[in-house]
């Protein structure tokens, strides 16, 4: 992977909650316009690592990092970097769909509006909803509350909302874990569409999902005496699932533990 083709590059990244080291020494490159999955057992710091990419961790008091996270070559944790700008360019979709208690239209338009969008709002809302494969289902009920939709639709609304501010990266934190298989399939199909335009990083518990959707996979595990999570293997997905080089990865992906 060459430098220019990676969107993110972490250098000796460690993440702390107070004195507790949750993630240690992560060195990975996230490739552009690909889907990168982060997998691993519960509590190994997958979400924590994901949230380091858009500085969401610091919403929890006392969180800090060591090392660097380069985004397009620029360290996100430099003193003069504004986390608001970072999150504007690096969108996020959460585990549990969390639409605003506002209309479907307003859910999509809200962020564009606060960022001073001057263009045709109706058009932006429509194109975002189309990209999230939700337009046909909601075009007649745009005034209804976003919470009136089903769980899968709500999650696609959250994706549309993230797309509307035209981010470069979309981080997804187990976006389908609360959905039924059909809604999950829709989200996965959608991700394949989205990777044409966006770089996607997804945390998932579901190894089949990682195998189905991702191009690259980062395998995380608790290691060492500190029991902090780290990436033990980062490879093309088909290699991770067929010829892993780390024994622990093999045990995990073949279901021998975890």
């Amino acid at each position: 992977m060459t430098e220019t083709n990676s969107v993110f590059e972490t250098r000796s990244l460690s993440i702390f909650y107070g004195n507790f080291m949750a993630v240690t020494d992560v060195n990975i490159n996230i490739p552009r316009h690909k889907i990168t999955a982060i997998i691993g057992p519960s509590g190994c710091g997958k979400s924590t690592l994901l949230r380091a990419f858009n500085r969401m961790n610091e919403l929890v008091p006392d969180t800090h990092i060591h090392g660097e996270v380069l985004f397009e070559g620029q360290n996100l944790y430099e003193k003069n970097v504004d986390p608001v700008e970072v999150r504007y360019r690096i969108g996020m979709v959460f585990q549990k769909a969390n639409p605003f208690p506002k209309s479907i239209y307003e859910n999509v338009a809200w962020a564009a509006r606060i960022h001073g969008f001057k263009g045709d709002m109706d058009e932006l809302v429509e194109s975002s909803l189309r990209q999230a494969a939700l337009w046909d289902e909601v075009k007649d009920i745009l005034k209804q509350s976003g919470l009136s939709l089903s769980g899968g639709q709500q999650q696609r609304l959250c994706i549309a909302r993230a797309i509307a501010v035209k981010p470069e990266v979309i981080l997804m934190d187990e976006p389908a874990s609360a959905l039924d298989p059909i809604a999950t399939l829709k989200i996965e199909e959608l991700m394949q569409e989205l990777k044409q335009k966006y770089t996607i990083v997804i945390v998932t518990h579901n190894m089949q999902q990682a195998a189905r959707v991702s191009d690259y996979t980062a395998m995380m595990m608790l290691t060492g005496e500190t029991r902090a999570g780290t990436v033990i293997e980062f490879e093309a997905t088909n290699k991770i699932f067929t010829r892993p080089s780390d024994k622990r990865t093999e045990d995990y992906v073949t279901g021998r533990f975890g």
Binding site: N54, P61, G91, M92, F94, K96, P101, A111, I114, S145
Partner: protein, 318 residues
């Protein structure tokens, strides 16, 4: 030894179970608890009904008197019982002026304090400030009354001139009442803001919203019903507040909206009349029940309006 259960399967070893009996058992304790809970719930309703009955009965004694005309009662601008003038407007206007001034202080400051505590303050700051704020609400209102009369009024007279500001005035009573109500509004609003799920805040932050945008445009609207409840409670408290206005606002009905003039509020008048030497059944005595009934209707109307408002604008997040 292993026994067979109904399905013919081996039962786990352990103490023998009693023979199956699915008949409904009597649980007298449940009924006792249930009726106690029912009684507790309806106690306040019975009390309210009792109050309404008593108010209505005495007010009826007032309104059927030949000297009293209900239309003149509602629209008259003179309240002078000794010449049989019973126009409630001077008392209502004083109540409205003190309430408006109090809310002008309490709503913006209370809301700002609530937003600060819930969105900006660190956990430690919040755990210190919130109890401190609630202590303010625990100060006896008579103390606030003298604070208004001996500190705020002289201050107003220094600023605006003693020719303009009366010694007793609705302005200083209203200002101090605002300080009294501020913690009430701040505390209840803060609870409402705090109850807004973290996931909504995260969603907004994840879209690149600033702290202020998250607080004002996401959290505040989602907490609107709780905040409206806080405001209504505050207004009801202001309308009903008695000691501060009795001490600092003035002791004579005066039909004016000027906050620098002395004027007697509805509660202030009730307190003064009932404190005097009155015989039961005198017209003065009966008149205070009519004023009380009016107070009751004012707060009732407010509650109804606020319920409508909340239903219309609330953003339901669950």
């Amino acid at each position: 030894m292993a026994k067979k259960n109904v399905n013919g399967l081996n039962q786990a070893p352990g103490p023998e179970r009693p023979a199956m009996n699915l008949k409904r058992r009597k649980r007298p304790g449940e009924n006792v608890i249930q009726s106690l809970l029912f009684f507790a719930g309806f106690f306040s309703i019975f009390t309210t009904l009792g109050i309404v009955y008593e108010l209505g009965k005495e007010a009826w004694l007032f309104f059927r008197l030949p000297e009293v005309n209900i239309w003149k009662f509602l629209t008259g601008t003179q309240w002078q019982p000794h010449i049989n003038e019973f126009g409630i407007l001077p008392l209502v206007s004083a109540t409205l002026v003190t309430t408006a001034i109090a809310m002008l202080i309490a709503i913006p400051l209370g809301l700002a304090a609530a937003i600060y505590l819930s969105e900006y303050a660190s956990k430690k700051t919040r755990n210190t400030l919130k109890p401190a704020l609630e202590i303010l609400a625990g100060i006896p209102t008579i103390v606030y009354g003298y604070f208004a009369l001996t500190f705020v009024t002289p201050l107003l007279r220094t600023i605006f001139g003693s020719g303009i500001v009366d010694i007793y005035n609705t302005g200083s009573a209203g200002l101090v009442m605002g300080i009294l109500i501020l913690p009430l509004i701040a505390s209840i609003s803060e609870d409402a803001l705090n109850a807004v799920p973290r996931s909504l805040r995260e969603a907004a932050y994840g879209l690149g919203a600033t702290k202020l945008e998250v607080a004002i445009k996401i959290v505040l609207p989602a907490a609107l019903s709780g905040i409206a409840a806080a405001v209504i409670l505050g207004i009801s408290r202001a309308i009903g507040e008695t000691m501060i206005v009795a001490v600092a606002a003035g002791a004579g009905p005066n039909f004016t909206l000027n906050p620098f003039k002395a004027a007697e509020t509805m509660t202030g008048h009730i307190v003064r009349i009932s404190g005097g030497d009155l015989s039961y059944d005198s017209i003065d005595y009966n008149s205070i029940f009519a004023i009380g009934l009016m107070l009751f209707f004012m707060t009732l109307t407010l509650n109804i309006i606020s319920q409508r408002f909340v239903r219309r604008f609330r953003e339901v997040y669950e």
